[in-house]
Amino acid sequence: MGTIITPYLTLAAILFCIGLYGALTKKNGVIVLLSIELMLNAVNLNLVAFSKLGDHPVLTGQIFSLFNITVAAAEAAVGIAILIALYRNKGTTDVTEMDSMKR
């Protein structure tokens, strides 16, 4: 059974790492949001894989991944809205410039 789930988990881990890398290094806010989506989807992949192929397969994982997708959509909507507002104010979506919370 372990051999069956491993490719899913590996893919999820790779996706998560790509997403993490992007979220921590990219300057463009849109790409950062995209990277976060990648991370969330990696998590979703894990949830679905475990709900189907885990030791005690239950549907909870799949339902939870639906919640995740919903939250991700809401987050993307709010995030993009904030980005647009920032772009209108500052003329850039560069996240390194967004440090007005510092003081």
């Binding site: 993490l20 979220a23 921590l24 290094t25 996240v95 390194t96 967004m98 440090d99 007005s100 919370m101 510092k102 003081r103």
Partner: protein
């Protein structure tokens, strides 16, 4: 007979203490009033002291002791504080308060242009308080506290003109050198505490224990010698005398106070006060006598070659203190030593205040730059002459009687010391004659006016012409001059009232007319030689220094004692201190600074990481989680073992 006034003896140190507190608290605001307050406080002390003294003149040798104040409880031993009045310390009280009072009055004139005059008066008041406290202390420990206070005051006053580097150095030297002696005294007190029955340190117990021989002889010798080391330090005896001439950097009234009644008298007083201990050990007495005799001769020879008016007087003090110690060490009784202390207090205070008056007038301390002052300063000249004659031991001045008593005793007990004393008397007379003739007689020095602008120990601007000092300064001189004449008559070979009164013992010293005449002749010979060399100039001044330049240099440089100390003790110690300082700076401080630096840089790093950028925070979060994960994994790994 319980005396009426003696029970109020505690008032005597209290008045100067009040003056000190008042001047310290609001000296600046009080201005002139503070100085009058100080003088009046001293006058009050003097009156009380005089009342006690007069009361005790009635042949009463019983002491009055009050020791009701419980001070410290150590186990089941209680240390008391209190005061004691005996004939010995009633005499000291009068001397100290009188000299202190006169110095106060004199200082009002001498220091009037100094900005810190109220500070000066407050220090003087503290000094008087400490000394009076020392005098009436009831036990050794109390005495030791005041003993140290006296040392502190000498430090403050010698270094009063702290802006002069020499004054700072002299103050430090006075403090440190006397501390060396104080360590001896301290160990002596500890030994005494250890060996005394019931660990009691009060003087009456000491008297009982030592006069009945309860302490074993070798311990007694040790205690006595250790106490004497304290006295060596304070009284400027060889080899701890080096601070005393340097202490001349202080204001001149302070020199008078230190040399006549307070600091240096404390050592002699200490030996007299603990005389029972010394009396019980003939070895210790011998040490005292030889140190005293040697110091008397040694310092007198140095005095011959000095050029600074105050330094000559300082060496004469060292020498005269040597006489006192010699007298105490003779072991007959402390009467002759205290008698010399008594007369010396007056004429030495007189000489110092006179020297102050001279310095006030000519603004130099070099006797070669003075001369012919007798025409301009009549009162100073006459009083100084009286003081010089008293110091030289010329009859009928007071110094003659006291020095003679010592010499007579020495003749009876130890011929070697007698000759040392006699030769010292010759040198004393000679250098006083030299001083007097160079300063007051002859013609004014040409260098005088050139030197008037600088080199003085004064803060106010130079006058053009020497003139007599104001009445506040001359009045004390006159009073002291009168005392310097009459003080000796309390104890003459014809009338031994003083010794009898002081010790309560009858020991009729045989009147030795041979000694009387011999010492007078010695004094006259010294003066005569000084007259021929420095006034008539029929004997060339370089009669000795020309033929034996090495000897002159040796004496002029004070036998290179200071240089020897510098080479043997000061330099190695300073080197060691330097190394220790390096260790302190680089190793001890290094550790401290390193830890501080580590914390500070950690904080800097933290501050830099808080740059408001989400991504940085993200990295930190990830790193934190990684560390956490590793920690958990590691913990599991360890627990698996």
């Amino acid at each position: 007979m319980v005396s009426d006034y003696s029970q109020y003896a505690w008032l005597i140190p209290l008045f100067p203490l009040l003056a000190f507190l008042a001047l310290t608290a609001m000296g600046r605001q009080m201005k002139e009033a503070g100085i009058y307050f100080s003088i009046i406080a001293m006058l009050a002390s003097f009156i009380v002291a005089l009342l006690i003294f007069v009361e005790r003149l009635g042949g009463n040798v019983e002491g009055y002791t009050w020791d009701k104040l419980d001070w410290l409880r150590v186990g089941d031993i209680t240390l008391n504080m209190g005061f004691e009045v005996t004939n010995l310390n009633s005499l000291m009280l009068v001397i100290v308060t009188l000299v202190s009072l006169l110095v106060n009055v004199y200082s009002k004139g001498y220091m009037k242009d100094d900005e810190r005059i109220h500070v000066f008066f407050s220090y003087v008041a503290l000094f008087s308080f400490s000394m009076l406290g020392l005098v009436i202390s009831e036990n050794m420990l109390e005495l030791y506290i005041f003993w140290e206070l006296v040392g502190v005051c000498s430090f403050l006053l010698v270094g009063f003109w702290y802006f002069k580097p020499e004054a700072r150095a002299a103050a430090k030297k006075a403090f440190i050198v006397t501390r060396v002696g104080d360590v001896g005294l301290f160990i002596g007190i500890l030994l005494l505490f250890w060996h005394m029955p019931g660990h009691s340190l009060d003087f009456s117990s000491i008297h009982n224990a030592f006069s009945t021989g309860k302490i074993d002889p070798s311990t007694t010798t040790w205690i006595a010698i250790l106490i004497f080391i304290g006295a060596i330090g304070k009284s400027g005896q060889f080899p701890l005398h080096t601070w005393l001439p340097d202490a001349m950097e202080g204001p001149t009234p302070i020199s008078a106070l230190i040399h006549a009644a307070t600091m240096v008298a404390a050592g002699v007083y200490l030996v007299a006060r603990t005389f029972d201990i010394f009396h019980a050990s003939s070895d210790a007495l011998l040490v005292v006598a030889y140190v005293g005799g040697f110091t008397a001769l040694f310092a007198a020879t140095i005095g011959v070659a000095q050029n600074d008016i105050k330094r000559i007087l300082a060496y004469s003090t060292v020498s005269q203190l040597g006489y006192m110690m010699m007298a105490l060490g003779m072991g007959v009784s402390y009467a002759s030593g205290m008698f010399h202390l008594f007369t010396h207090a007056f004429f030495k205070a007189l000489l110092f205040l006179g020297a102050g008056s001279v310095i006030h007038a000519v603004h130099t301390q070099d006797i070669n730059e003075m001369g012919g002052l007798s025409r301009k300063m009549k009162i100073t000249t006459w009083t100084f002459a009286i003081g010089s004659l008293a110091l030289s031991g010329i009859p009928p001045f007071s110094g003659f009687w006291s020095k003679d008593l010592i010499l007579s005793e020495a003749y009876e007990h130890n011929k070697l010391l007698f000759w040392a004393g006699l030769i010292a008397a010759f040198f004393t007379a000679f250098y006083m004659a030299r001083l007097f003739f160079l300063v007051f007689m002859g013609s004014p020095s040409k260098k005088h006016h050139a030197a008037a602008a600088d080199g003085s120990d004064h803060t106010h601007s130079a006058h053009h012409e020497p003139h007599e000092s104001p009445a506040t300064m001359t009045t004390p001189l006159v009073i002291l001059a009168v005392l310097a004449v009459v003080a000796g008559f309390v104890n003459t070979p014809m009338n031994e009232w003083f010794s009898h009164w002081l010790t309560g013992e009858d020991h009729a010293e045989p009147v030795n007319w041979f000694i009387l005449i011999l010492s007078t002749l010695t004094g006259l010979l010294g003066i005569g030689l000084g007259y021929l060399m420095y006034l008539k100039r029929s004997v060339p001044r370089d009669v000795v220094s020309g033929k034996l330049p090495g000897l002159h240099t040796l004496v002029y440089r004070k036998y290179f004692i200071d240089e020897a100390y510098d080479g043997i003790l000061v330099k190695p110690l300073r080197g060691m201190g330097y190394i220790l300082e390096l260790i302190d700076i680089y190793i001890i401080d290094g550790i401290v600074r390193l830890s501080a630096y580590a914390v500070v840089s950690l904080g800097r790093l933290g501050a830099r990481l808080q740059n408001g950028q989400l991504q940085t925070y993200g990295v930190i979060t990830i790193l934190g989680m990684l560390i956490l994960a590793l920690a958990i994994a590691g913990r599991r790994f360890i627990h698996a073992e």
